[in-house]
Symmetry: C2
Subunit: 149 residues, 2 copies
C-alpha cells in the first residue's frame, strides 16, 4: 500500500525548539539556497533559488526574466509582493536539523551596480539568463530546530 | 557588503532538464520529506513535513491539529484547498540535483483505518500530536534535474 522509501522513520524522543529571529537569519545565511514562495493567479508557487543575505538584513535572490515572480514584483509596485522564503538543513535519515521561514515584501532590484554585485555571488543554476534580482525585506522571521532529546 | 557563506558559487557549464511527471513523482517518492505550500489570509505559507506516496499516486502528509492547513482543508470542503508540494535533493556545494513541484487539491484523511496506517509510517518530527493527515491529489507535476554538462 505504501511505497517504502528505504529511510527509517524519524523515531526516538526528540523536541523542537523555536528560534529567535537573529538565530534564524544566521542559519539562513549559513546556507546558499532556499525556496521562494508566492501566489500567482491565486495559486501557490514555489521555486528553489540561491540567495545571499546583505548587510541591511535583506535576502537577495536572482531570477530569470521569464520567472513569474519578476512580473509579479514589477506589476505590484509599492509596497511590493508578499512572499515567503524558506531554507532548511534537515537530515534525510534522522529528520533532525532546522528550518527557517521568512515572510516579507519582495521588490525588484533596479540599481545596476547592485545587480552587477549580486551577479558575481549568485550564479545561475542553469543556462537561463538571470539578469534580475529580487530583494526580500524580512517582516516575520520564524524558525525551529529539531533535536534529539 | 555580502555575507560569505563559505560555499563556492555554482559555477561551470551545467544544464537543467525538465522531468516528465512519472520521473518527477518517482524522485519525490525516493525522499521522505518536502515542503507544503498554501495560502492563508492571502499570505503564502510554507512548512516542512514528511510524506509518503500511496498507490493511488496521492501524496499523504501528517500534520498536527493546530496546523493552519488542517483548518483550511476542513473549512474548504469539496473540491478542497489548492496546495503546492515541493521536494528536492540539491547538493549544497555544487547545486546539482533535482527539484519537483506538485500542485493539486488537498483533502483531510477521515478514514480511521487509513489514519492509523499513515501513523505507522509518518512519524511526527516533534512532540506535537499529529493525529491528522492530508492527502494531496497531484494535478500538475513539474520537475527539473540540474546536471553538469
Amino acid at each position: 500500500m505504501l511505497h517504502d522509501n528505504g529511510l527509517p522513520a524519524a523515531a526516538g524522543p526528540r523536541r523542537s525548539i523555536e528560534l529567535d529571529s537573529v538565530e534564524a537569519l544566521r542559519l539562513l545565511g549559513s546556507v546558499s539556497f532556499g525556496r521562494i514562495v508566492f501566489t500567482q493567479h491565486a495559486l501557490p508557487m514555489i521555486r528553489p533559488v540561491n540567495h545571499v543575505l546583505v548587510d541591511s538584513g535583506d535576502i537577495v535572490i536572482r531570477i530569470h526574466d521569464g520567472a513569474a515572480l519578476t512580473s509579479r514584483t514589477r506589476q505590484a509596485g509599492a509596497p511590493g509582493v508578499v512572499v515567503a522564503y524558506e531554507a532548511d538543513a534537515i537530515d534525510p535519515q534522522t529528520h533532525l536539523g532546522w528550518s527557517v521561514v521568512v515572510t516579507g515584501y519582495a521588490h525588484p532590484v533596479t540599481d545596476t551596480d547592485e545587480l552587477a554585485r549580486y551577479a558575481t555571488v549568485l550564479r545561475p543554476w542553469s543556462q537561463q539568463t538571470m539578469d534580475h534580482a529580487v530583494r526580500i525585506r524580512p517582516d516575520l522571521v520564524t524558525g525551529v530546530r529539531l533535536t534529539a532529546v
